[in-house]
Amino acid sequence: MSFLDLDERLFELDKLVEFTASPITDVKDIPEVDVGIVEGAVCNDEQEHVLRTMRRQCKLLIALGDCAITGNIPAIRNRFKLAEVVSRGYVETESSQIGEIPNDPGIPKLLHRVRPIQEIVRVDVHIPGCPPEADAIWHALTELLAGRRPQWNETNMRYD
């Protein structure tokens, strides 16, 4: 979302890079690319699989945002047992009336612990923030395009 806050800079970015698989495009498989960007913490086995695939396909992997870097809010669930969390979610809530906890093989299995991505794969560049400001994303991408490693200091790294 913050990525789209690049607004008109998307026009410029479009000239510099080629977008492949992403939530805003219809390419469904991850091809071999130079740069991959991952946001969010890893909550289930499918995400873990996608993450490992991305690591294989991307020369450089970016962790975008605090969830990817630390687990952030989603990782609060690690204070509870998974069974308690799903039971509250699907059976105990005051509005729950019919049915049980989803368990079809067609949906991913939830991990017992929510994990930041660097617990699972090697990460090359971190863009912190919840979410990182569009300026921070722009800074990281343009630095990489210029062949430099993005550096964070008090002007481009702020939380508010």
Binding site: F11, V27, R88, T93, I98, P102, G106
Partner: protein
Amino acid sequence: MNAKTITINPVTRIEGHAKITIHLDEAGEVSDTRFHVVEFRGFEKFCEGRYFGEMPQITARICGICPVSHLLASAKACDAILGVAIPRPARLLRELMHMGQLAQSHALSFFHLSAPDLLLGYDSDPKLRNVIGLIALHPDIARRGIRLRKFGQEVIQRVAGRKIHPDFTVAGGVNKVLKISERDQMLSELPEARENARFALELLKGYQHHHREEIDGFADFDSSFMGLVQPDGSLEHYDGKLRFCDGFGNILQDQLNPASYLEILAEATEPWSYLKFPFIKAQGYPEGIYRVGPLARLNVASKITTPRANAALKEWRAEGWRIRTSSFYYHSARLVEIVYALERIEQLLNDPDITGTDILVTAEPSRPEGVGVIEAPRGTLIHHYWVDESGRVEKVNLIVATGHNNLAMNRGVLAVAKKYVKARQLQEGMLNRVEAVIRCYDPCLSCSTHAVGQMPLQIELIDADGVTLECLQRVE
């Protein structure tokens, strides 16, 4: 030919992660479909033990697309726990931020996610069929969309201090006064936004004119509709009472207190989706199917309080329809709501209280529970907390907009798959139409399962014995 299942995975150009499976019978005809939401986070549990005042900031992280909705519903639940009515300037500022979000979220849904289908065609090259392709092929349209969304985001930033996850709404009010210079800046930017919204409305009207038949029959089915309205039945997003109408526009229930949602709605679960299925209790499951969001709001509303949007609504109805039931009309309803949001922003900015400094009441928690309900861009959003005497959260219940539409999205996917998917000569464009149903509802799947979206929707072909024979990834 053996029966098969087609999988679309991931479904793209939606918010969040999902897949669709299409089940075929022995004859190779579509027999059933499922829209699987594949993420879950568990806010209902892990918020237990937090201080209630933290809830707006925690629950905002349910969603990066409409965090403002969660901030508002959560802050309203907190106000209820304090047992206070917030000061008028705070109430106006919250609504102003909400209208900024309505404009940005709807602009995103229309221009960034759905317009590529409409302007480039459902069957066009999947590599170009996205907002980046739009930038290349229709730069003027793309630029207008981007600028309209940006306007909405900047309203949020000016009012709340930050575009995404601002800490502005707090129990009892808000924490930042609007400067006169900020107000004037927004007023000066309004004309361009208005022009871009008008442009979008015309663009869609033209499209509708040329595709009438396909549109009227696109995922068209019977259901009830639910939304908040003002006391006189006008469109409302921040406050108001619940109204239900049936598929013909007859009002079934009106002016229900949203805090009593538990008497009206209940939820079911299915083993194959992490997203629950709310239904109208009195009608049972799954007969109690209802829809929320832009289309539902326009269907239940008697009128709109602002002139341009009301004229657009009238024009819609002048064609002899009291309400619309085809899912495609979510797009048109969204654009009418952008027009409304911009008009409402102007009204709010011109209210002398908007720069008022009386923005917060302080109080101790005095009620054991609080319910906060608003109309988020995607529909009715319900936050319900129970707290102990010190304000520590004991229990949480959330029903989010996309959840209410779960039964409807499943029904819509089935209807469109039956109509368009020919398994013998399967083509990419057929599957894209199935995904397009989902895009009508603009689901925020990260919200609905309280999950962080990583990758979007996937479609799968399954046999009569339930074996996945083919998993069609739509990629070269």
